[in-house]
Structures are given as C-alpha cells and as structure tokens.
Symmetry: C2
Subunit: 115 residues, 2 copies
DNA sequence: CTTACATATGAATATGTGTTCATATTTGAA
DNA sequence: TTCAAATATGAACACATATTCATATGTAAG
C-alpha cells in the first residue's frame, strides 16, 4: 500500500494528482453504476426496454432467459434506479427510468463499434 | 428459457421487439466494456489518468493499492483498449487511450450525482 | 558483473455474483 | 373459494474475479 516512486521527478506530480482526486466514495459509486451495465443479461434487458415498455415474461422470451433470472435482474436494475415499474393487474411493466441510461448505452456501443 | 406471456396482446409486441434486438455478440461486447469500468480500483486509475499520464508506482501511491494490484489492473485496462503505455527506461507511463473513456466516465458521474 | 529499481506475472485465496430450482405471493377468472 | 397466471424471493451452486504473496523480467547505474 501507498508505495512511492523514488524518482523525485514523479513524487511532486503524484502528490498533485492525489490532491485532485475525487473522493473514494464518489468513484466507488460511479463504478457501481457501471457494474450494473456490465452484465449481458442486464444489457439485453436495457436494450429491449429502450425499444419498448415490457412485462417480465416478455423480457424472458426476448432475452432467452428464465422468468426467475429476469426477475432477479430487474430487481437489481430497479434498486440502481435504472428502470421503473408499473403494475397493471397481474402484469408488471418495466421501462427505462431516464435518459442517462440511453446515453450510457449509446456511448458504450460507439466505443465497441470503433474497435 | 423462452417462456411466453400468454396474454395474446403481448406476444405480438414481444416478437416485434425480439426481431429488432441487436445481436447477442454485440450486446455482450458492450457489457464487457462496462464491466471494465465497474471496479473501483480501475475507476480510480481511470480518473487519475484523466488528470495526468502516470507510472505504475505513482498510480499505486495515488490509489492506495499495491504495485502488483495496479499492474494487474493496468493489463486488463490495456487489453480492453482503454489505456495505452509508453516505456521510458525502467519506467512505464500509462495514459487514457481515447475520448470515449472520458465521455463514459463523465456520463456515469452525472448519473451518480443526480441521485 | 553486480546491485537496485520499476514492472510484470503466476498461483492461491477469498469474495462476489448470476443462474437455477423450488416455492411463496398476488391477482383475476371460473 | 378454488384454480391458474404473472411475478417475486430465498437458498444452493457454480463460476468469475480482485487481491496478495512470491518471484521473474528488464533496465540503468556503479
């Protein structure tokens, strides 16, 4: 932990950068958001919901996963404020919560397509 | 797997959406990129490199991790084409590879700060 | 050539996580 | 009320992964 590069040249720079770093808590929270996107099942769900509001079984059909797996993932997505839900009788419809979700997806897609 | 919602209303919609879905491979690759961002150590590295080009030991000092841990993570970041490296004698300097990395970080940060 | 520094790497460990399976809950219909 | 459909949930399992520790590699200096 906290080893220091001995070349005096870097020590000053490193201390400057360390002073400008965001709080660990904030960087941790940002990483947590990306972690949610970092699963192919959740990514499928997000892309499907980008196309339309959908219920759980339809999402399971579209993604090729089980109802249970999708339900678990939807709970995670909802806790992370990435999707919202609307109940209509027995059916629960899910949709994306805001524009950030779409923006993040689009930039991620751009990055992948440029490799 | 591939269960279908029995309410005939949804079946048509679900099939439409399924037809419009991106290939699994692409969605998988996008998820892989986000997975790289979804770790607080790597997020610290990315933010530090956003401020300045840095060598391994300086990154270890700045992030409060060991040299070994940082070296392992830098390898992952490099394989994902998120950082590049430049060798100068014994020292290896790392920096961000392109603008997408910064864009993704900024939008992730925006999302977190609006919660 | 020997030493010291910066980095990389492999194995082991511990921890986190996604899926499955069984089952509970909720709601509408018969 | 009884049944079936849609969803949610908990436990168990399998798998991935981040860190640590020891050590190897490469490089410059003495």
């Amino acid at each position: 932990m906290t080893e220091e590069c001995l070349c005096g040249l870097h020590n000053k720079l490193a201390k400057k950068v360390k002073a400008k770093m965001l709080d660990d808590d904030i960087l941790f929270d940002i990483a947590e958001v990306f972690k949610i996107f970092g699963d192919s099942t959740r990514m499928k769900i997000i892309y499907a919901l980008k196309l339309s509001e959908l219920c759980v079984l339809d999402l399971a059909y579209i993604t090729g996963s089980t109802q249970s797996a999708i339900s678990h993932q939807l709970r995670i997505l909802k806790q992370a404020s990435l999707v919202k839900s609307r109940k209509d009788g027995k059916v629960v419809f899910y949709s994306l919560k805001d524009e950030h979700v779409i923006k993040l997806f689009e930039i991620g897609r751009e990055h992948v397509e440029e490799l």
